[in-house]
């Protein structure tokens, strides 16, 4: 297989893993002000994502870095075309990171309140905007060889917003399930109740997404050409239903895993539909940035493939070990001695 195609798959995989991981701590951050009423609850929710959010976010940095290394032209134009939305995402991510780390060190009620807002907004904004960005990429951006013609407001079109909401609700469900696994008693029940509610919204958005994608994008073309690829969106639908099923049955671990698989198969459905484009041009497909016209040289791709093949399994191994180590219910005793 050509290295460009390997890197296209890796590109999709890095984004998929990123959303499956950071997605739940975004979701937890969004639910946080609504389900955590007292100081103990708040500490518990922050503690639920504390040990892992940082490692999760590195998947974004790696996805960015890999795009830079493997598809520099895409990297250059995607980041400069989407300047303003990316800037907003960036500020939100900074705000959230700092808020999660510094909230436990706040002393006065005002400080605490400000960090609480930081955690909430810093989780909400990227969830929504990443969806909007991907929705617009699915539709194609308005650019030709002389530049880009869109604005922040042209990105906020109905389809872009729909994908934004789909991401948002998906992450809320995902985060609710994670919290319910990590905390005890009433707080866990509250998180579960939210996950259930938002699952319905998520399902409605998913159905609308399936229909409107046919109207607004060309993603289905690839599937109609090679129908066996329909297996991937079918898997996404199945995972979503299974998530709902396990939520109703109150099997939280299984619901969380199928929710993660839903995110991964959803991203791959989009990636398959995009092929061979990374960023399609909505003006004319001859301007589209594809994995062939925007990639690095075969030599660079080969070097990078070797690096990734050696190191990504190692990363997955120790991150899995971390999840195993921290896969326990947080106790009240622990929260009291928490000094960081």
């Amino acid at each position: 297989m050509e290295f460009q195609i390997i890197w296209f798959i890796l590109w999709g995989l890095l984004w998929a893993v990123y959303f499956a991981l950071d997605g739940f701590d975004f979701g937890a951050g969004i639910l946080y002000p609504f389900i955590a009423k007292d100081e103990m609850d708040k500490k518990a929710v922050i503690h639920a994502i504390g040990p892992v959010w940082n490692g999760n976010e590195v998947w974004l940095i790696t996805a960015g870095g890999a795009t830079f290394a493997a598809f520099p032209t895409t990297y250059a134009y995607m980041f400069s075309y989407l300047y303003t939305p990316l800037l907003i995402i960036l500020f939100a991510l900074i705000l959230r990171g700092v808020a999660v780390e510094f909230r436990p060190k706040a002393v006065t009620d005002t400080q605490k309140k400000l960090w609480d807002i930081g955690i909430f907004l810093g989780s909400l904004i990227p969830s929504l905007l990443f969806g909007v960005a991907f929705g617009n990429i699915f539709m194609g951006l308005k650019f030709d060889d002389s530049g880009y013609y869109g604005t922040l407001f042209s990105l906020l079109n109905p389809y872009g917003l729909l994908v934004g909401l789909l991401f948002l609700f998906t992450f809320i469900v995902h985060g609710g399930l994670w919290i319910s696994l990590k905390v005890q008693d009433t707080l866990a029940e509250k998180a579960m109740a939210r996950a259930k509610k938002f699952w319905y919204l998520q399902a409605i958005c998913a159905v609308l997404f399936l229909i409107l994608t046919a109207v607004f994008t060309n993603l289905y073309d690839n599937f109609l050409k090679l129908p066996f690829w329909f297996a991937v969106p079918a898997l996404a639908v199945t995972c979503l239903l299974v998530t709902g099923f396990y939520i109703m049955k109150n099997k939280r671990g299984r619901a969380f895993i199928s929710s993660a698989l839903f995110i991964i198969s959803l991203v791959f459905s989009g990636v398959i539909g995009l092929y061979p484009n990374l960023i399609p041009s909505s003006i004319d497909s001859k301007y589209s940035l594809t994995l062939f016209n925007s990639s690095s040289s075969p030599y660079t791709l080969k070097i990078m493939t070797i690096v990734i093949i050696i190191f990504v399994p190692i990363v997955l191994f120790y991150q899995a070990w971390t999840y195993k180590t921290f896969m326990y219910k947080i106790t009240e005793k622990e929260l009291k001695e928490e000094g960081y």
Binding site: H47, G50, P51, V52, N54, G55, E57, V58, L60, I61, T62, G64, G65, A66, F68, A69, A70, F71, P72, T73, Y75, A76, Y77, M78, F79, S80, Y81, Y83, L86, L87, L90, F91, L93, I94, G97, V98, E101, F102, K105, G147, Y148, S296, S297, Y299, T300, I303, M304, V307, I308, F311, V312, V315, Y318, Q319, T322, T325, F326, E334, G339, Y340
Partner: protein, 434 residues
């Protein structure tokens, strides 16, 4: 103002801010790892308290290092799209490798370290902070290999209107990058050493846990002394490499206008770039510049057209101040060790140490000014001009708005960070036997 200038200002501001947090983590991670290992080996609870106390300050600082690091990555594409397109084939690889090889390790195991005190064995816990320390320094290696390539491009051909990599090994073993890595990382260790010295001095001044903080002071002093001697030594090699590969930068660092054989070094010198000369040149040491540069003949700035010269005064002053500070660090740390037995009684000296905390930070920033301003007008030395590197799709108004946004936002974060560091530094370690 145009996009180039605004983008440069923004990059300088965000990079400088990022580099307030990074250097401390390079060295402090090692010191915390050393303290915790001492505890695991000896069972001496003081070392555990030490690791926890300095570790907490490390964590506060680390959070901001990470989040401001994302900005750096995003900015290449956002503000410097033409640069990214032109060099991505080469420059992107070390960045991606940094994330894959180092950054995951660092972030994951810092999480383990912070939350793992009662979850994993003490040995494994100490190992996780060692992994953090290793990964932090490994991160710097890959970033500085990338930066080293911008300073001295190697292992490439120009093809398809961009630089394409033909020799990965040459990029990785680029002497410029490796020397810069050693110089930068060691300077970060000096920052950490002085951080420990200064805060320990504060507690000694207040007669708080004298025995505990004298131990810390000694660790900090030895670490800072060794590091600052090494920084100077590596700096010397690095200057020779600069002389070899970036003649305009060297000439600007020394404000040398005419090509000179056996060039002297003037202890007192005031550049006058407008008239292409120095208004004051006094106390010359014969041949010193040639000896330090490792070259008999040193090219002067007049050899290059004015459009290819970096800003002379800024480069020159930054370089002199950095070197001066470097020698001061060696002197100060030597004094600490000489006076160590009764140091708790010399109030003035302790105060001096406390007020020295910002100095290595300043030296580091000055070093970056020399490296990056001294490289102008090139973004990739000899290959691509900074003016040709900016994003075409971005309007000056967008960059201006984001620059203001960064300034306000980063300003607030900086204040909060200093407030928290000061608060926890003042608080001191946990009381004995909890």
């Amino acid at each position: 103002m145009d996009t180039v200038l605004l983008s440069r200002l923004q990059f300088a501001a965000t990079a400088a801010f990022h580099f307030i947090f990074v250097p401390l983590t390079l060295g402090l991670s090692i010191l915390v790892a050393y303290m915790e290992t001492k505890y695991v080996r000896t069972g001496d609870k003081d070392y555990l308290r030490m690791a926890k106390f300095w570790g907490r300050l490390f964590v506060i600082n680390f959070a901001l290092g990470v989040v401001t690091g994302i900005t750096m990555e995003f900015q290449f594409g956002m503000n410097w799209a033409e640069y990214s397109r032109y060099v991505g084939d080469i420059f992107g690889s070390p960045l991606a490798i940094e994330a894959t090889v180092a950054f995951f390790l660092e972030s994951t195991f810092l999480g383990v370290w912070i939350f793992g005190w009662n979850k994993i064995s003490p040995k494994l816990h100490a190992l996780s902070i060692w992994l953090v320390a290793l990964a932090t320094n490994l991160s710097a290696l890959w970033i500085l290999i990338a930066n080293g390539w911008m300073q001295h491009p190697v292992g490439y051909v120009i093809n398809n209107n961009r630089a394409e990599m033909v020799d990965f090994w040459a990029v990785v073993t680029n002497a410029y990058g490796l020397l810069k890595f050693a110089h930068t990382v060691l300077s970060g260790w000096v920052v950490a050493g002085f951080f420990v010295l200064g805060i320990s001095a504060y507690h000694l001044l207040n007669k708080n846990e004298t025995e505990f903080f004298k131990k810390c002071l000694k660790i900090g002093a030895i670490f800072a002394l060794v590091s600052s001697i090494l920084v100077a030594a590596v700096g010397d090699f690095h200057a020779k490499e600069v002389a070899h590969t970036q003649p305009t930068k060297l000439a600007a660092m020394e404000s040398l206008w005419n090509t000179t054989t056996n060039a002297p070094m003037y202890l007192l010198l005031i550049p006058d770039p407008e008239n292409e000369k120095n208004s004051v040149e006094a106390i010359g040491i014969p041949s010193m510049l040639s000896i330090l540069a490792g070259k008999k003949e040193i090219k002067g700035l007049k050899e290059f057209s004015p459009s290819e010269r970096p800003p002379v005064t800024l480069t020159f002053v930054s370089f002199r101040l950095m070197v001066g500070l470097g020698f001061l660090f060696i002197l100060l740390t030597l004094l600490v060790l000489i006076k160590f037995r009764y140091i708790e009684n010399s109030t003035i000296f302790l105060k001096l140490l406390l007020w020295s905390i910002p100095l290595p930070y300043i030296a580091g920033q000055l070093g970056w000014i020399v490296a990056e301003v001294g490289r102008q007008p090139w973004i990739v030395y000899g290959l691509l001009k900074t003016t040709d590197a900016v994003s075409k799709a971005v309007e000056p108004s967008q960059v201006l708005a984001s620059l203001i946004g960064f300034t306000v936002f980063y300003g607030a974060l900086g204040i909060i960070d200093i407030y928290l560091l000061a608060k926890y530094a003042r608080k001191g370690p946990e009381p004995k036997e909890v």
